[in-house]
Each structure stands twice: as C-alpha cells, then as structure tokens.
Amino acid sequence: MKEFFVLGLSHHTAPLEIRERLALPPLALPEALAGLRQEANLKEALLLSTCNRVELYAVAQDDGGKNHARRWMEERARPAEIFQALYLREGKEAIRHAFRVASSLDSMVVGEPQILGQIKEAYRAAESNGAIGPVLRRVFTQAFAVARRVRRETAIASGSVSVSSVACDLAGQIFESMQGKRVLLIGAGKMAEAAARKLAQGGAKLFVLNRSLARAAELAARYGGEPRGFSELESELKLADIAISSTASTRFVVEYEAMREIVRERRYRPLFLIDIAVPRDVDPRVGALEGVFLYDIDDLRRVAEDNLLLRRKEAEAAEKIIEQEVASFERASRESSLKPIFGAIDAHVRKIIRQELEEVFGHKKSIEAKDIDRAIERAASKLLHPIFVELRRAAENGNIGWVTMVPRLFGISTKEIEKESTQKDPEPPPPLQKA
C-alpha cells in the first residue's frame, strides 16, 4: 500500500481563494484526470473536487509520479501560495485520510452527508475513465463501508447544524409529514427563504406574505407558492401550520392579543412559529399560548450549536472506528499481498512432485515399493536443494535469523534439531539428479 498516496488541499490548509482556483467543475474532471495520469505516469487516480477540498488519490508507477502530480496542481494555482497548502499523505496515512474524508470527519461541518456522495461521484468518474485499479477499488470500497459503519454506530450525522435545517427538523417533531401543510413566509430573509424552500421540498404549500406584493409574488413563483398581501396576516395565521417570520419591522408583527384570538379560532391546532427576525417579529408571550411552538433565532442557533457539539463528541468515537478499520485494512492488505507468493509456492511444489512422479511411474505398468521411495527421494531433493543452498549462504554471511527461521517453516522444533545433531553429523543434501 506504500504506493498509494493523497495529494491535495482542503479547508484546513487553504482559504477559499486558493481552493476555488484549483477546483474543477464536474464536466472538466475526466479530461483533467486523463491529462494528470499521463503527465504524472499514474497507475490509478481519482480526483475529488468539492468546495472544501481538491484532492488526488493515486497509485504512482514510480517516485516521480508524486512530484509530477504536485507540479500539475501548482501550475493550476500560484505556486507560492499553493506550496504551503498542499499536503501529501502516503501509505497508511493516506488510507486513514480517505476513510476520514468519506466518513465526514474531515469536513468543515463534521458529519455532513454530502461528502460521501461527492466521493462516489468522483469514483464513478474515475472508473469510467479507466483510472480505477485494484488498489483504489479496495481503498474506496472499504472507505464507503467505513463511512456507513461510522454513521450506523455513532450519532455523528444526527441533528442539523444550520438554522434553516434546524427549523425543518423541529417541524418534523411536530408534524409527521410536510405534505399538504401550509407554510406562511412573513417577509423574506435569506435564512427564512432557505427554511421555507426545504419545507416546500417536503411537500408543504408555501404562502408568501410581504409588504411588497410584487416581491411576494416573485418569491412565491420561485417555489410554486402563492403571494399574499400583508393585510391578510391574521387570516393566514389562522390557516397556517408553520409560519416563518423575518421582516425588518422594529415592532412586533405578531402580537400577543391578536394571536390569543387566532389560537382560539384555530381550535388549538399546532402552529410552529419561527421568528428569525432581529429585532423579533413575534411577541415572546405568544410562545406560552396553547398549541403554539415559538422558536426565535437564538433558540434555533442554540439547537444548532448543541447538535454541532454532539457531533464533535461523536467524532471521537468515530475516530476510534477509523483506527480499527485502518488496522484491519492494513492487515487484509498484507495478507492479500502474500496471496501471489502462496500461489506460486503451491504451484511450484505441485509441479516438481508431478514431474518426479511422472518420471518414475510414467512408463511403468505396476508400482513397486522401491519406486515410491525413489520418487519421494527425487522430489524431496529437488524441493530441498535450493533451500539448503540458501541456508548455507545465509550461515556463511552470519544471517542466523534465516537459519533459525527455516526449520520453523517446516514445523521442526529445536528438540528435533538437537536430537539430529547428537545422532550423526549432518549430511550434505544429495546431489540434484537430472530428470
């Protein structure tokens, strides 16, 4: 796995100005990947480009590959700026990095779900480019599994961390589904619009209420909603399930007395009232009315911060999972690297035995005991000769480790060796007989 490396920069090492200079639009990825592979002579490569990171995961043919890749990145931005920001991780470190990125532990907002999708897209792009080989396939297949495990076993992705998402989550604690729910947007701020958009995506019907009917109509049209005049505030509040207020008004837009009457007329149907305005649009006493759940911007931020705190706490548990997975991946890699050696030894031994058996029995019609002895002797000599030669050489060079290890390979204990040395002098191996 030593040949596997990650080269890139992220929000940890580079400001947005540098990241955006290096970022690649999805359509440009295949061409960039092909160029990079050719230029840096990479066996396998995957380019990940998101708003928070640009990274190359690759397997180099030779040592020059990493330098070429670095140069390729530097050329895309100003070398002096990018030099400090670029990081290179190799082998085990690179594997850990891939697992952490896929599990969203390296993300700006820890636990955000988009990164996994972005890596999968990058993987597909690289695969269709023919740039995925056995190493990257194994690393990323495992990275996706690790990401799933982290999500399953920790609460790293639980709870939203943006104000608009928190508002939607809270709505989900009151209403089972947004389908057919009436969402009233009072005024229009960016955060309120984002929350309304998310709720509308869930199937809610949007009603936009603004002092400027034209602005209300424009916003409503964008989300398939309906515009309303400000004079309809009370009648709309009677019908709404969720109301998001973010006007620039300096006095309360939703007053306690009026709301008390509205609640009665609503027959205590639950109303989720989100006040994102500063100064506040909704009289805080409204929150005490039955069926009304009032959250202002500070409440929402507090929930978001709590969620973020929880995610950070969960990140510690996730890091432990990553360590376990890196260790088991390395173990599996080592085992898989031994496979061809095992296969070759197995084939070699079988070939020699088969050859010797054919040599002894091939032309005979009946088998005699002495023939079996002869076949065993021939096969043993042929198999053991190169081992004895290497052992002698090792002993001459003072390589005692080798000398003691070989008997272990055959399951021969020290006692057996001692017994052998007391019985007779070791005999040289029989000369290799020509077939």
Binding site: A155, S158, G159, V166, D169, L170, G172, Q173, I174, F175, E176, S177, R267, Y268, R269, P270, G287, E290, G291, F293, Y295, D299, R302, V303, D306, N307, L310
Partner: protein
C-alpha cells in the same frame, strides 16, 4: 390451589421477555440505538406468543372457561395492549418506524404492570355462576377497551413529555426520538375511539349481568359509579374533540384522567373480596 409448574414457568418467561423488551425500548429512546429497538421488538414478539400460550393454558386448566375474573381481564388486557402496539407498528404505513418503536418505552411498562398485577392463576375452579355468555362479553369488551385506553394513555404521556420538551426548547433530548406530536395525538384519538364503544358494551352487559345475578342488589355501587364516571369522561372527551376541536395537550390530559378513573374501577374490583 398451587400454580401448575408449567403455568409458573410460562408466567415467569413472559414477564422476563416483557421486561427485556421494555428495557430495549428504553435503550432505543435514550440512546437512539436502533439495534436495541430491533432486539426489543423481537423480545416483544416472543413475549406475545408466549403470553398467548399462557392464556390458552390457563383456559385449558380452567376447563375451557376464559375471562371469568378480574385477573383474567388484566391478563388478556395486557396481551391486548402489547398486541395493539405491535399491530400499530406493523400497519403504520407512514412515519418513521424507529420513532414509533421508541413509543414502546411508554407502552411496555403498562403491559408489564398489568401482567404482573394479574399474576399467575390462583386456582382453576370456576364457579358455575361465572360461566355466562353475558359475563364473557362483559369482561372481553372491558379487556379490549382497557387495552385500547392503555395505548391511548401511554401515547398521551409520551405526547405530554415531548410537547413539554419542545416548549422548553429542549429539542435535542431523547424525547425528540418519539413520533411527531400530531402522530401521537392522532394515535391517542384513534385508540379512544376504539375503546369507547367497547367500554359502552362492557358497561351495559355488566349492568345486565349484575341484575341477573342478584336482582336485589343496589343498582349502583362504588365500582359502577367510577365506571360511569370513566364512560362519561371518555364520552365528553370525544365530544369535545369533535365539537370544540380539542386536541394536543388538553386532549392528552383528558385521556390520562379517563384512564386513571378506569384503573380505579379495576382497583375497586381487585380489592373486593370473593372471586374477582
């Protein structure tokens, strides 16, 4: 008469399985660990099967007579509560099943309580006068009604806790793992709708049976008065839900009150001397 060892074993097994299931559901609610929820669900399914075997065995030892005492009512009622909960989980098409499972943390303690209060069968001789169809209908409808009201009660408690947490802006408590408030409210309403006709049948058949058993007995005693209050409370609750649009917190309190009065009726019968 001592319990039959087989019944004692079954009783213990069912009790342990319900306790394990309840603990698992609590674990799901507190830690959000779905594996605990799944384990709890399996424990509940096994408990239900074993509980049913227990009920049938008790009936066999009583020579085929079922539902002849208040203990029997609780035994069948506790099975009914668990069964209705499983049915709700099974047939709820919308909503997050994980959140519905978390509700088990409120339902299972009730199941276990009723089951343990009923206890193992104290004896299997059933007096002849208890072998009556009217009494069977009376206790069966009351057992089913109890099951429906118990689920409504558990759901209403869950509603009140979840609503309080939301109002106090404690959005990240374990209670956020419960189903949404409107689901809890709708579930409680459905269960009260289901329980009320059964309670009505139970009350009417009970009155007829009591009159037939002893025509000279006073028309209404403590238990009958409490049962009537329970019936009126649930009736008014349904009326207010339909006519005045009661829902949410006040409907949950109404359900709680109705169910507690229903429990008082059970306690009244339980402490009465003689066959229960």
């Amino acid at each position: 008469m001592p319990w039959h060892p087989f019944l004692a074993w079954l009783f213990g097994g069912v009790g342990v399985l319900y306790a394990l299931s309840g603990a698992g559901y609590f674990g799901l609610l507190l830690r959000g660990d779905e594996r605990l929820g799944r384990a709890a669900h399996w424990a509940l399914l096994w408990a239900l099967a074993l509980h049913f075997l227990f009920l049938i065995s008790v009936a066999l030892f009583a020579h085929g007579t079922i539902l002849w005492s208040i203990d029997e009512l609780l035994r069948w009622g506790s099975w009914g509560v668990a069964f209705s909960y499983v049915l709700t989980l099974q047939f709820k098409r919308r909503g997050d099943p994980k959140r519905l499972r978390a509700l088990g943390a409120f339902v299972l303690p009730l199941v276990l309580l009723f089951f343990l209060v009923a206890g193992p069968p104290r004896g299997v001789e059933v007096p002849e006068r208890f072998r009556s169809l009217l009494r069977l209908i009376h206790i069966a409808s009351n057992a089913l009604g109890l099951a429906a009201f118990a689920v409504a009660f558990a759901t209403s408690i869950a509603y009140l806790f979840a609503e309080r947490a939301l109002r106090r802006k404690q959005a990240r408590t374990s209670l956020s793992r419960l189903p949404p408030l409107d689901t809890l409210d709708a579930m409680a309403l459905r269960m009260v709708w289901l329980g009320f006709p059964l309670l009505t049948i139970g009350a009417v058949t009970g009155a007829f049976w009591a009159m037939r058993l002893d025509p000279n007995s006073p028309p209404i005693g403590w238990n009958q008065a409490m049962a009537l209050i329970e019936w009126v409370l649930f009736g008014v609750l349904l009326l207010l839900r339909v006519v005045a649009g009661w829902r949410g917190r006040r409907a949950a309190w109404g359900t709680l009150l109705g169910f507690l009065v229903g429990c008082a009726v059970l306690v009244g019968y339980a402490i009465r001397s003689g066959p229960r």
